[in-house]
């Protein structure tokens, strides 16, 4: 590697964006070339100065309040959002979405999708948790398709041992596990995949009586819930309802085959 190549790649090198082979070549060049080494030292000086400075300007607390208020404002369609032009296609879409939601709700009710209202809050939490797991790029604390790796990983982290099943054969491979917190409990979150869709299966102990599977929908996600053999299960995904219910059936069969109804 010569000076010109090094010069061209120095930014990538400083930023850790150069592959290992080139990195090593650059390193070697820097050891033998005083000019490039000086340039590299300057890069580091600049970076350290920026990092040590107070150039980062965090959002003022008033902005959080403003945005929260503005978001709330959007739920009142009769009041115009302040400072924003009225956007009629958006309004039309919003009405269409509301109509669609009503249709879905009626259809869902007809299909017998209902949970006791006490579970509404939990359904919401479970869905929010699912969404958060997808957004934070923090899907799994232990990434493994091996149930014998995932299950022991929970030992010592939870005061119960969640059933961990691999359903790769059936087309729902296990991709990992995560520790989560729901309903004032640390809970096990098992992560499965179906094509590009992620399924979060939340499990924790329950003293409630057994409950058959029930399905609800929340904001485009399906949530399947059941209680069996002293464990409560919540499966959440954007999969089709048929596939998520199939998944839940398979888990039920595998996880507690001997439990009496």
């Amino acid at each position: 590697m010569n000076c010109q190549d090094t010069r061209m790649l120095l930014d990538g090198y400083v930023d850790g964006e150069v592959d290992l082979v080139r990195s090593l070549e650059i390193e070697r060049h820097l050891q033998s070339c005083a000019v490039c080494a000086q340039r590299y030292a300057n890069y580091q000086t600049l970076r350290n100065a920026i990092r040590a400075s107070d150039l980062y300007v965090p959002a003022p607390p008033s902005l959080h309040k403003r945005i929260h208020a503005a978001v709330l404002q959007t739920s009142k369609p009769e009041t115009k959002p302040r400072g924003l032009p009225q956007w009629s296609p958006g309004r039309w879409l919003a009405s269409a979405a509301t109509a669609a939601a009503v249709v879905l709700l009626v259809w869902g009710t007809a299909r017998g999708w209902s949970l006791p209202s006490a579970d509404d809050r939990l359904t919401q939490d479970v869905t929010a948790d699912h969404v958060r797991s997808l957004m934070a790029t923090h899907l799994a604390d232990v990434a493994s398709s091996d149930q014998h790796t995932v299950k022991p990983w929970f030992d010592g982290k939870l005061d119960f041992s969640p059933p961990v099943e691999d359903l790769a054969q059936e087309g729902y491979p296990l991709i990992g596990g995560r520790l989560d917190y729901l309903a004032n409990h640390p809970v096990a979150a098992l992560v499965y995949q179906r094509r590009k869709h992620v399924i979060n299966l939340f499990i924790w102990p329950s003293t409630d009586s057994e409950r058959a599977m029930s399905t609800v929908t929340r904001q485009g996600y399906y949530v399947v819930h059941w209680i069996r053999a002293g464990m409560t299960y919540w499966a959440v995904s954007d999969l089709s309802v048929a596939e998520l219910e199939m998944f839940s059936h398979l888990i039920q069969q595998r996880a507690a085959p001997t439990s009496a109804p």
Binding site: A41, N42, S53, Y56, L84
Partner: protein
């Protein structure tokens, strides 16, 4: 109920990134009040399109909206700034590669100098510096946010850092 759920999910996706959003807007617009207005406007735009968001990275998604909202404002208010700083990235080549770099002497006490140097950068350089050095984002994220190829991220960073170092070096014996 659905609406409230959407709002809750939206706030969960966006609120953790308000600092990043404000910092970016503040540096692009160089004005506190404008930055607040723009972040709020961007949040409203983001809320409208939130239903279509299925990505895994709320930060890059929201920052891209903030960035575009800032550019719309800049083009509207100060058309000259964006226009006069455009150049062909591909034509850029380090023109003083042969010159010996001077030792950069920069103390942390020089924050004021540093701030002025960053503020003096053309907006497209400022944006990569802020996203890389202050936000610590990868080239891939920066490319997605700014809507430019990976190679352009690197060449803009190179150009931006070169300018900063020139600004911050003592004004003696400048050959290039």
């Amino acid at each position: 109920m659905q609406e409230r759920m959407k709002q809750a999910q939206f706030e969960e996706a966006v609120v953790p990134h308000l600092d990043a959003a404000y910092n970016l807007a503040r540096w692009l617009l160089r004005n506190d009040q404008d930055a607040e207005d723009i972040v709020q406007e961007a949040a409203m735009r983001a809320l409208k399109s939130f239903g279509g968001f299925r990505g895994s990275d709320g930060r890059a998604w929201f920052l891209a909206i903030v960035r575009n909202t800032c550019y719309t404002r800049l083009q509207h208010d100060r058309a000259h700034e964006v226009a006069t700083t455009s150049f062909d990235d591909d034509l850029y080549s380090p023109d003083c590669a042969a010159a010996n770099p001077e030792t950069l002497l920069l103390q942390s006490a020089d924050t004021q100098l540093l701030r002025q140097a960053v503020e003096a950068l053309p907006v497209m350089f400022r944006e990569v510096v802020v996203l890389r050095e202050l936000e610590g984002l990868s080239y891939k994220d920066i490319a997605a946010i700014a809507g430019i190829p990976l190679g352009t991220v690197m060449s803009r960073l190179a150009r931006a850092r070169q300018r900063l170092m020139e600004q911050l070096s003592p004004p003696i014996n400048k050959e290039c």
